[in-house]
């Protein structure tokens, strides 16, 4: 059994952008509610609860549910040790953060009615929003 870890240092502030980012990386099927129970890969109910959940059926073989718990600053991921290592080759959180960042840039560009220019240098994508 893999234990869940709450990543308090990774906060997704905006619910709408978080859902969009999850969909961007392939997790469009989510559940929302108050204190949704999270289940392990054997269907065992865990003690952790979340406001947003991606059920294990939509993740991968032997995966546990993935959750996001709401705190004052936004939503923090709750992910099992196993899934942290296994999902998307261990890159679930970096990929989700990058997808969320892309959504933030697009939202800010829209609000400023600006134009965007994108340049990629190695692993870093620079997006210049002029307004």
């Amino acid at each position: 059994m893999s234990k869940y870890i709450v990543f308090k240092e990774i906060v997704f502030k905006d619910r709408e952008l978080l859902l969009a980012a999850l969909a961007d990386i392939g997790y469009a099927r989510i559940e929302e509610g108050e204190a949704l129970p999270l289940y392990g890969y054997r269907g065992d109910r865990r003690t952790e609860t979340a406001q947003i959940a991606v059920r294990r059926a939509h993740l991968g073989f032997a995966s546990n549910d993935l959750g996001f718990a709401r705190i004052d600053a936004g939503y923090v991921p709750i992910i099992s040790e196993y899934d942290r290592r296994a999902l998307r080759g261990g890159r679930l959180l970096p990929e989700l953060r990058a997808a969320y960042a892309e959504r933030v840039v697009e939202r800010v560009r829209n609000r400023l009615r600006g134009s965007a220019r994108r340049v990629t240098e190695g692993s870093v994508t620079k997006i210049r929003v002029r307004f």
């Binding site: 906060v11 502030k13 905006d14 952008l17 600053a73 936004g74 959180l93 970096p94 990929e95 989700l96 953060r97 990058a98 969320y100 960042a101 892309e102 933030v104 840039v105 939202r107 800010v108 609000r111 400023l112 692993s123 870093v124 994508t125 620079k126 997006i127 210049r128 929003v129 002029r130 307004f131």
Partner: protein
């Protein structure tokens, strides 16, 4: 100089850094506030030389106007 926000997204870590350019001090804070609406408060923040330089220039201009008005009295 055009008003610009440069976002840098590191695909390795997912980390996002922002650099606000071409905007005077208080207006720069407004742009930062807009970004913070979606990202929360930054883990670190550095005001560049440009931020300080522009604020100083504005202060000097205001000071000159004040002196001019005083001379006309």
């Amino acid at each position: 100089m055009a008003r610009e926000i440069e976002f840098s997204i590191d695909a390795e870590t997912g980390e996002l850094t922002t650099h606000i350019r071409g905007i005077a001090g208080p207006a720069c804070e407004q742009a930062a506030k807009l970004v913070a609406e979606y990202l929360g408060q930054p883990t670190s923040e550095t005001k560049t030389a440009e931020y300080n330089l522009r604020t100083q220039v504005q202060s000097r201009v205001r000071g000159t106007h004040g002196g001019g008005n005083g001379g006309e009295r």
